[in-house]
């Protein structure tokens, strides 16, 4: 049997981002780097090779340096981008002198053309298996069958013409950056810088009707170290004062305070996740305002104590009482759901609640001397060393365990009222077969 395979869903966005990052890094070799999505980069090394000791040395260097970062790399240098591209994939490490493309390319399989499947199929069906065989056909013959575009592409590939590289598209402008000739050190200066950056960022955001949910502040120290601080918000933010306050709280809450060392020469504020937002008007709906205020409180608390320390409860769809609520990070909006009103629908509308508002941490066993009626509630019981006499009881509500998860006994729940007027939620674990069953207290009604 084959070892279990770990399967991870493809994340094209992350891949694109990574490729972009590598392209950034490659800026050091040449200013003209072009993306060849999803897995390639084209570097125009015209006039740059000599800086690295010639083409061969440069190719080795690029491959080695990227390889050192943990990537599998193949590369080639040729007179045209398509030729280089094909060689990198099918004959890596080739370096083709100008005019020599046709010869080097000829033995490559037609898939090296990277053209549409339907063209590949046509070539394959015609028995044309290598680029050399294709190149031997008449241009008119190919153009009539495969289109002018194909012939152009083939000519580029063969080094007979060139098509310019497309420079990379700049990133969307959701970043604000301040550079300082004299590195800044003081907290005040940092704060002032952040405020001004927050101001310019929020200006952009407001214009676009967007707010930021994940924000990153990057502090570039003069000696090259970079500190990054991210904040998350439950609601899209665009008010610079609010952003600043959250940043400050986060900075204050850092276990290792920001160490300016010799000072920061660049401070950058980047919106990593921005979302559409409602116009920043105050709503006339009082509930809406209250909700926003709670959201803001949640953000502030989360920033200060950590996202996982500020939680809220969301309902879970299950019959099992103790599993009916789950705590999730309060900022996380992916968990939605309305609480079922534990009031009866149908016949017994508007009666008292069926279940206590809060349950005990875990059910506590109670001592029930007798329950004489079959499937009935206990007459009296002992809990936490106190004795209770039941005067009124309702039930049973029978809940079977989720058989596909774990074996468990079916429970019969009762709501009971004691002589003193306390109300409890009890259950018998297991159906009543006349044996001494175990009883538990699961909650107390307010």
């Amino acid at each position: 049997m084959v070892q279990p395979l770990t399967i991870v869903a493809a994340d094209e966005r992350a891949d694109a981002k990574l490729l972009d990052g590598i392209a950034d890094w490659c800026d050091r070799f040449t200013p003209l780097v072009s993306l060849d999505v999803p897995d390639g980069l084209l570097l125009d090394v015209t006039g740059a090779a000599h800086l690295f000791g010639g083409e061969a040395a440069m190719l080795s260097l690029v491959i080695r340096r990227i390889g050192e970062q943990g990537f599998a790399v193949q590369g080639a240098i040729a007179g045209t981008s398509l030729a280089a591209r094909a060689l990198a994939r099918y004959a890596p490490r080739s370096i083709v002198p100008p005019g020599g493309e046709a010869q080097v390319i000829a033995p490559l399989p037609i898939t090296a053309l990277d053209c549409e499947d339907n063209i590949l199929r046509a070539l394959r069906h015609a028995g044309l298996k290598t680029l050399g065989m294709v190149a031997e056909r008449l241009a008119s013959e190919l153009a009539e069958r495969l289109g002018r575009g194909f012939v152009t592409r083939l000519r580029v590939m063969l080094g007979e013409s060139e098509q310019p590289l497309t420079p990379r598209r700049p990133l969307p402008d959701l970043m604000a950056e301040q550079r300082f000739a004299e590195p800044i050190v003081s907290q005040d200066a940092i704060a002032a810088s952040l405020l001004s950056l927050a101001g310019s960022l929020s200006g952009v955001l407001e214009r676009e009707g967007r707010g930021v949910r994940v924000l990153e502040a990057a502090f570039f120290r003069a000696d090259g170290k970079v500190d990054r601080i991210a904040i998350r918000a439950g609601e899209p933010l665009h008010d610079p004062a609010v952003i600043l306050r959250l940043l400050r709280q986060k900075l204050d809450a850092l276990i290792d305070p920001l160490d300016a060392g010799f000072g920061f020469d660049v401070v950058r504020l980047e919106a990593l996740l921005a979302e559409e937002t409602n116009p920043a008007t105050i709503s006339f709906d009082a509930n809406e305002n209250a909700r926003r205020q709670i959201a803001f409180l949640v953000d502030r608390l989360s920033v200060r104590f950590g996202e996982h320390r500020v939680q809220r409860f969301v309902p879970q769809d299950t019959h099992i009482p103790e599993a009916a609520a789950a705590a999730v990070p309060a900022q996380d909006r992916d968990f939605a759901g309305d609480w079922p009103l534990h009031r009866r629908a149908g016949f017994l509308k508007g009666g008292p609640p069926r279940r206590p508002l809060r349950l005990l941490e875990r059910p506590e066993e109670i001592d029930v001397p007798v329950s004489d009626v079959p499937e009935g509630a206990p007459r009296r019981f002992r809990w936490r060393r106190a004795r209770f006499d039941v005067t009124r009881a309702e039930g049973p509500e029978r809940i079977a365990m989720e058989w596909w998860k774990h074996a468990g006994l079916t429970r019969d729940y009762f709501r009971v009222e004691t002589r003193e007027g306390q109300r409890f939620w009890l259950f018998r674990d297991g159906l009543d077969h006349g044996l001494a069953p175990r009883w538990y207290m699961q909650g107390v009604f307010a």
Partner: protein, 1067 residues
């Protein structure tokens, strides 16, 4: 009432015919109700009566004085917010109204649902006892007021935590509305341990996994049939509600036994009775069949039959069948009747069947003698391509409201069960798909752990094993109703008075809620208008023979094919039967040389013997031995004290003392085991339900016990019963076998004398039969038929006969063999052809075919007639301008491309041609894929298929070939695999135990290597008894000549997906 204190009747019962809600079979509830000593049990599915006959069938098998009363009802579910209402008809008329009410709801939508409003109920309310299932006071109160008398208010105690308060409120409401309170447990399953299955069903219904299901599931397992004393305890605050169930029960007199059919009256000349009319038709028919005088024996039988028909008042039924057959004949549609009543002199005279009663014993006579009082059974097979015309005729004749199709209940099969259950357990589709793929065909009984392991799923994985376990439990559950292919139910008045009808997939078609077993149970007659591919094939062959033959020769018919042709039987005895009706399967072909058929009756036996019944009963070998050595013929006999030694002589005479047919097995029960008519009926009915109801034991005891007590050999008695069990899963009576035997003979005759026409007709009737076109063509070529490939210059849509260069009659393959080629395009090519096409350019311009069609032709190498091979053809098609969508610019006016001179393309290797042929036409005339692998195979010591027979018996052998067919006959313990290579075929037998180990290889491989031993039978049948099987499909990739990386699956051209077509599987 004797049950007074502790008696209870459950009226709110939801069976699994409320699809994906109820979790037990209808019969389970009935049996459980009897165990619980209920005086009655109601069945009330959601807006349906589909399950009630099932309950009734089981109920009838229970002992008369112990069984509960069975109440027939429906749970009406409304679309307008009305709470559910259980409706039980008091009498037949009320039942009719209920059935019509459901039909109205079903006819409102085409999606198999039933949409009802409360006002519909008010209109049909008369005679219905109604139980309102309240959800809240607001909706229940006004409804109770409007329903008036004969209304009850349901109360349930389902452990919701506040049952008692709810009951109190209901009591209050019932007093206010003056409607009695009645206890129900609203059950979904017969026993509490079915709850888990019910949860799974809920998940399937809601398309969620168990983890996501949450409160969609029931909170507990209380919705089962409970003992009366438990119900009494739960309702101790309101005992009158429990007692009310008995009173309710007593108000109902209706039973399904009252449903007798009202068969339509066929038109008869004024002053004549139907019986007289039938007699006149039969007499005229006999004169037509026997122009030289009717043999007295035949006339006597006809007389007897006519009297029986008159006594049974079933003349109208015969007139209906006659009328339908007459219509088909007038349209030139070939047809043939079968079934107990079809094999009669009357049906022969009426032209319903062509089985000459002088050639073969008619069976209707035996049918007359049986005590069974049940509807006559005539199925009529029509050419499968033209059956629709017959169906249209039936609708025209009876009107859509008096004729409807029978239902077919689609059950969960291993594949569907594991797929759906797997989803519920959160298994990925990969895993469930793999599990499903290891299942044999669509049938099979149980998923075994072995299969799970071979599906590459880990049996240790609890979720998987659990899913498999539940899939096994779900198997056999009804999934939905579908229409039967051609079983018509006819009514004199409106049909929905008897059974709810709903719209079928096709416009203006209806089908009822019951299937053929249900109709049998209720003794309702139906006319089966079935489709048979072989009839299409035979008719086409007759046409081709006629067209190719000398002028003036009359066209053949089923009745005029020369009988008793020794050459035809010789061919069959040699197991040369590919394409021959019924006997072309591997198991049949093995049987042919052993059975050595020489007469029509031998063929009848041949057709019936390779079936689960005779095989499980161990009757095959005794029969074969007696055929080989008539001295062995003897008849099982009772002890002289118990009866005459020859009591079975008449029953088993024709089959040499060995019971082979279903009818014989039933006669055995009556004669040897002395079953009463009623008991025999019970046995016959129980046969169909052996699987899910525990009634089999009592019948076994009776059958075997009584036969043994009367002095029969206990082993013989056991075997007979096993045989009956086998018939239960797949019954095959003599009356059907006899009709089929004629078609066996006729198709064999055509194959023997007109092989070219036979092959063409088979190809033109696809899909049908066991073998793919490749095998049909191969077989034809082996018989010396020249075969020509499909060609744009010469082919039609159909394959046809053509004189080749040598003046021989050759088979020209038609465009229908090309995957993905449209018939319209073929018709265009045929219409434009005239005196032929000049060249490729002329062809493309005159036909103006789409690019797609031209590519298909080129890929199929169909331009050779224009001097272009596959590569050149495709390259040439590529050059053509794109399709012009506007008809204004007719392609004739398109600018002409200049002639071009180009270098020749690289030649395509033969192996690639062969592979490409398979990809496009699923066969190749140029070669066989394995021939290109032969050198490698030889080096491995792999024997060619044709050489396997040259080895001595018992020799070790390895043989590889393309998997042609996999068959698992009936309940047999062996799997037959036919491998083929360029030299011929090799028949591999895989025993059950080996199959279990190599299931994946058997099920999945296209190229299979089998290692094992040669087995040769005295009759010359050669088998390879497999011990090890290896999937060598990957070798085929070597042939594509493709050293390039394959394109990713997502972008693959459909034609590239499979190198070879899948084999055909039968069981």
């Amino acid at each position: 009432m004797s049950h007074a204190e502790t008696s209870y009747v459950e009226l709110a019962v939801t069976t699994n015919f409320s699809f994906l809600r109820g979790a037990s079979h209808p019969g389970d509830f009935v049996v459980r109700a009897q165990e619980l000593d209920y005086p009655g049990i109601g069945i009330a599915d959601r807006n349906s009566l589909a399950g009630v006959v099932r309950a009734y069938a089981v109920w009838k098998t229970l002992e008369e004085d112990k069984r509960p009363r069975l109440l027939i009802g429906t749970r009406l579910v409304f679309r307008d917010g009305t709470p559910d209402i259980l409706a039980y008809p008091k009498n037949r008329k009320a039942y009719g109204r209920l059935s019509r009410l459901i039909s109205i709801g079903k006819l409102r939508t085409e999606k198999g649902e039933c949409l009802l409003d409360f006002t519909d109920l008010l209109e049909h309310r008369r005679g219905l006892l109604l139980i309102v299932m309240p959800t809240d006071l607001e909706t229940a109160t006004p409804i109770l007021a409007q329903l008036g008398a004969d209304t009850w208010l349901a109360a349930s105690m389902l452990y919701t935590g506040e049952d008692r308060r709810r009951l109190r409120d209901l009591k209050h409401l019932s007093r206010q509305a003056r409607v009695p309170l009645i206890a129900v447990n609203d059950v979904l399953y017969h026993r509490p341990d079915q709850r888990e299955l019910q949860d799974v069903l809920t998940c399937i219904r809601e398309h969620v996994t168990l983890k996501e299901a949450g409160k969609r599931l029931e909170a507990n397992a209380e919705r089962h049939l409970k003992p009366a004393r438990d119900m009494a305890r739960l309702f101790r605050a309101c005992p009158e509600a429990v007692a009310e169930t008995l009173r309710f029960c007593e108000r109902i007199s209706f039973t399904l036994a009252e449903l007798g059919q009202r068969y339509p009256r066929e038109p008869v000349a004024r002053g004549k009775t139907a019986d007289q009319h039938l007699r006149d038709l039969a007499e005229a028919g006999l004169k037509w069949r026997y122009p030289h005088g009717v043999p007295p024996k035949i006339a006597a039988i006809a007389e007897k039959e006519l009297r029986f028909i008159a006594a049974g008042k079933i003349a109208h039924y015969f007139l209906t069948v006659h009328d339908i057959v007459l219509f088909a004949r007038s349209q030139g549609i070939l047809c043939q009747g079968r079934g107990s009543a079809a094999n009669s002199v009357v049906c022969y005279a009426l032209g319903v069947t062509s089985v000459d009663p002088t050639e073969i014993d008619v069976l209707f006579e035996r049918f007359l003698n049986t005590e069974r009082r049940e509807p006559p059974d005539i199925d009529v097979d029509f050419e499968h391509e033209r059956r629709e015309e017959v169906i249209q005729y039936v609708y025209r004749r009876y009107g859509t409201r008096r004729a409807a199709l029978t239902a077919t209940v689609i059950h969960y099969r291993p594949r569907s069960a594991i797929r759906e259950v797997g989803k519920v357990f959160g298994l990925s589709e990969d895993i469930t798909g793999k599990l499903a793929d290891t299942v044999w065909g669509h049938h099979g009984d149980e998923l075994q752990e072995q299969q799970v392991r071979q599906g590459e799923a880990d049996p240790e994985n609890a979720a998987i094993m659990r899913a498999v376990d539940f899939a096994n439990r779900l198997m056999g559950f009804p999934r939905h109703l579908s229409q039967h292919v051609g079983g018509f139910v006819l009514a004199r008045y409106k049909l929905d008075w008897t059974v709810p009808i709903g719209p079928a997939a096709m416009k203006d078609r209806w089908f009822i809620e019951w299937d053929k077993d249900d109709l049998d149970t209720l003794a309702i007659m139906k006319v089966d208008v079935l489709a048979l591919g072989m009839l299409t094939c035979i008719r086409k062959a007759f046409d081709l023979i006629h067209a190719a033959g000398p002028d003036g020769m009359p066209k053949l018919t089923l009745a005029t094919v020369p009988q008793n042709d020794a050459r035809v039987y010789d061919m069959l005895c040699n197991a040369d039967a590919i394409g021959v009706f019924q006997v072309e399967s591997r198991a049949q072909m093995n049987m042919l040389p052993r059975l050595k058929p020489r007469t029509m009756y031998d063929l009848t036996v041949e057709v019936a013997i390779v079936r689960p019944g005779p095989i499980q009963g161990g009757m095959v070998h005794p029969y074969l031995k007696r055929r080989a050595n008539p001295k062995l013929i003897s008849f099982p006999a009772p002890h002289p004290d118990h009866g005459p030694a020859d009591e079975l002589y008449t029953v088993l005479e024709k089959t040499m003392g060995v019971p082979l047919f279903q009818e014989q097995a039933m006669r055995l029960a009556i004669v040897a085991a002395q079953f009463s008519a009623e008991e025999a009926n019970g046995l016959r009915r129980a046969m169909a339900t052996f699987r899910n109801v525990g009634t089999i034991g009592s019948f076994r005891e009776k059958f075997v016990g009584r036969m043994t007590a009367r002095g029969y050999d206990p082993v013989f008695a056991e075997n007979c019963f096993e045989q009956i069990k086998g018939f239960g899963s797949y019954g095959f009576p003599e009356s059907h076998a006899a009709s089929f035997a004629l078609l066996v003979y006729v198709s064999a005759w055509i194959k023997r004398h007109h092989p070219t026409a036979f092959a063409a007709a088979l190809l033109n009737s696809q899909p049908m039969g066991f073998y793919a076109p490749a095998e049909i063509v191969r077989c034809a070529r082996e018989h010396g038929v020249p075969v020509l490939g499909p060609d744009a210059a010469f082919s039609d849509w159909d394959s046809r006969l053509e004189r080749n260069a040598g003046g021989e009659l050759a088979l020209r393959l038609g465009f229908r063999q090309l995957d993905g080629f449209r018939e319209d395009d073929a018709r265009t090519i045929m219409a434009e052809r005239g005196y032929g096409y000049r060249d490729f350019t002329d062809f493309t311009r005159r036909t103006a075919l789409s690019h797609r069609a031209l590519v298909t032709l080129a890929e199929a190498d169909a331009f050779r007639g224009f001097g272009l091979d596959r590569r050149e053809g495709l390259w040439a098609v590529r050059r053509l301008p794109d399709d012009i969508p506007l008809p204004l610019f007719a392609p004739r006016n398109a600018p002409e491309q200049g002639p071009e001179t180009i270098a020749p393309l690289p030649a395509m290797p033969l192996s690639e041609h062969v592979l490409a042929d398979y990809q496009t036409t699923r066969l190749s005339l140029k070669g066989y894929p394995t021939q290109f692998l032969r050198a490698g195979f030889a080096a491995e010591g792999i024997t060619a298929c044709a050489d396997v027979g040259k080895l001595r018996d018992g020799a070790a052998v390895r043989c590889a070939g393309v998997v042609l067919v996999r068959q698992r006959p009936g309940e047999g313990t062996a799997i037959f695999i036919t491998l083929s290579d360029e030299t011929g075929v090799c028949n591999v037998v895989v025993w059950e135990r080996t199959f279990a180990r190599f299931r994946k290889e058997v099920m999945g491989a296209r190229l299979l290597l089998a290692k094992g031993k040669v087995q040769k039978s005295p009759e010359g049948v050669i088998h390879l008894m497999a011990e090890t099987l290896i999937d060598r499909s990957a070798d085929l990739q070597l042939l594509s000549g493709e050293t390039l990386p394959r394109p990713s699956p997502a972008h693959r051209h459909p034609r590239d997906v499979r190198v070879l077509p899948p084999s055909r599987d039968f069981h």
